[in-house]
């Protein structure tokens, strides 16, 4: 499963979307195991801060051996330097 965060930002007000690749393998030789995971958000400037959804992915039963390097990359339709950055955490369910 994955969780996303906004890296503490609250400084823009535009809808945006992103596509995320989750990959395994050595640096430079990554193999995508989950391509183009879609999420959207809005860094609202109002008193309530930001919206970001879905904040988590559901459980996906992809097996990953121990010792595997896991890496993430993304593209976004927003290119403002700080706003486009988001955080990702991976939760691995042990077998």
């Amino acid at each position: 499963m994955l969780a996303f965060d906004l890296q503490g930002q609250d400084n823009a007000n535009a809808d945006y979307s992103a596509l995320i690749d989750i990959a395994t393998g050595a640096s430079g030789s990554e193999k995508v195991i989950y391509p183009n995971l879609l999420f959207t958000g809005n860094m609202a400037t109002g008193p309530w801060g930001v919206g970001f959804s879905p904040a988590f992915t559901e459980f996906i039963p992809i097996a990953i051996p121990s010792g595997t390097r896991i890496a993430i990359r993304a593209q976004s339709n927003l290119n403002t330097a700080t706003v486009r950055v988001f955080g990702v955490m991976v939760y691995g369910v042990r077998m």
Partner: protein, 284 residues
């Protein structure tokens, strides 16, 4: 092809369909020019690349205060068959709130996959994507590939209203989602909506929801006290419920079962406490 759940707890070969990399989004699917009416089917992929036994469906819309619902269908243009109907999605005035469901679903390679949607506001654009996964070598046959939706009210694009009642922190009466399930279910998912109620006091309320089976007056709780947070950000921003969906719970339910839900809330205000619930039963 591995057909679905149980699948030896392992899927592979993730393949996204409907992604638009030039916009970093899903395929644009426009709702009808009439409110609460499905728009036309829009193709996500002409021919799916892999035999799939697991599907992840994602959809969202821009920041407009409305509630939407979308279908995923298979089959040739003009002959689409919906495999899952009326996945609830809502947005408020300030930010979009995507819907994502992941569940076992058998779709053969070479299948045309499409989507359509409706909304409480005319001519809204949703962005929809599906990701297909195949099963590993030891996977077993399973899910039929159809999801039965219960509790959705097409005329309002909302789920069944669940009223926690006028006494705070006390379970209200049951609302029936279906009198009788039409097929054996492998498990289910849930979606929530705020009944398009942007009024009420600004703040946060919490609800605990019971999902039950059995005859009226003799319900047996299947999943107790699912917690949701109902946020009202004020008229300028609108409302939201978190989480918007409950992921697939592999809890089998036989055909012919009555399903009902009840809730309690930290808020007793008549309209504010009410929320909507839609039940998605994954056929075995």
């Amino acid at each position: 092809m591995a057909g679905g759940w149980p699948i030896g707890s392992e899927v592979c070969n993730g393949t996204d369909q409907g992604s638009v990399t030039t916009t970093s989004n899903g395929t644009a699917v426009v709702t009808s020019s009439s409110t609460n009416t499905k728009g036309s089917w829009t193709q996500l992929i002409a021919s799916s690349a892999i035999d799939a036994c697991w599907i992840v469906v994602t959809g969202g819309a821009a920041s407009t205060a409305d509630t939407l619902a979308f279908d995923i269908g298979v089959g040739a243009s003009g002959s689409e068959i919906a495999i899952i109907q009326n996945i609830i999605n809502f947005s408020n005035n300030s930010w979009p709130i995507d819907s994502r469901l992941a569940f076992p679903c058998q779709i053969a390679a070479g299948t045309r996959i499409s989507a359509r949607a409706q909304a409480t506001v005319a001519s809204q654009t949703m962005n929809i994507q599906v990701t297909l996964f195949d099963g590993e070598w030891n996977a077993l046959e399973g899910a039929e590939g159809v999801v039965d939706t219960y509790g959705f009210v097409s005329s309002t694009t909302l789920g069944t209203a669940i009223d926690p009642g006028a006494t705070t922190n006390t379970k209200g009466t049951y609302a029936q989602l279906t009198a009788s399930t039409t097929a054996d279910l492998l498990g289910f998912m849930l979606a929530f909506d705020f009944q398009n109620d942007n009024a009420g006091a600004v703040g946060q309320i919490t609800n605990l929801i019971d999902i039950s089976t059995g005859a009226s007056g003799s319900e047996i709780v299947l999943v107790p006290n699912i917690v949701i947070n109902y946020m009202n950000y004020g008229s300028a921003d609108g409302c939201a419920i978190y989480p918007t969906h409950i992921p697939f719970i592999p809890c089998p339910i036989p055909a012919g079962t009555r399903i009902a839900a009840r809730a309690q809330s930290s808020n007793a205000t008549a309209t504010t406490r009410v929320f909507g619930l839609t039940f998605y039963g994954v056929r075995a």
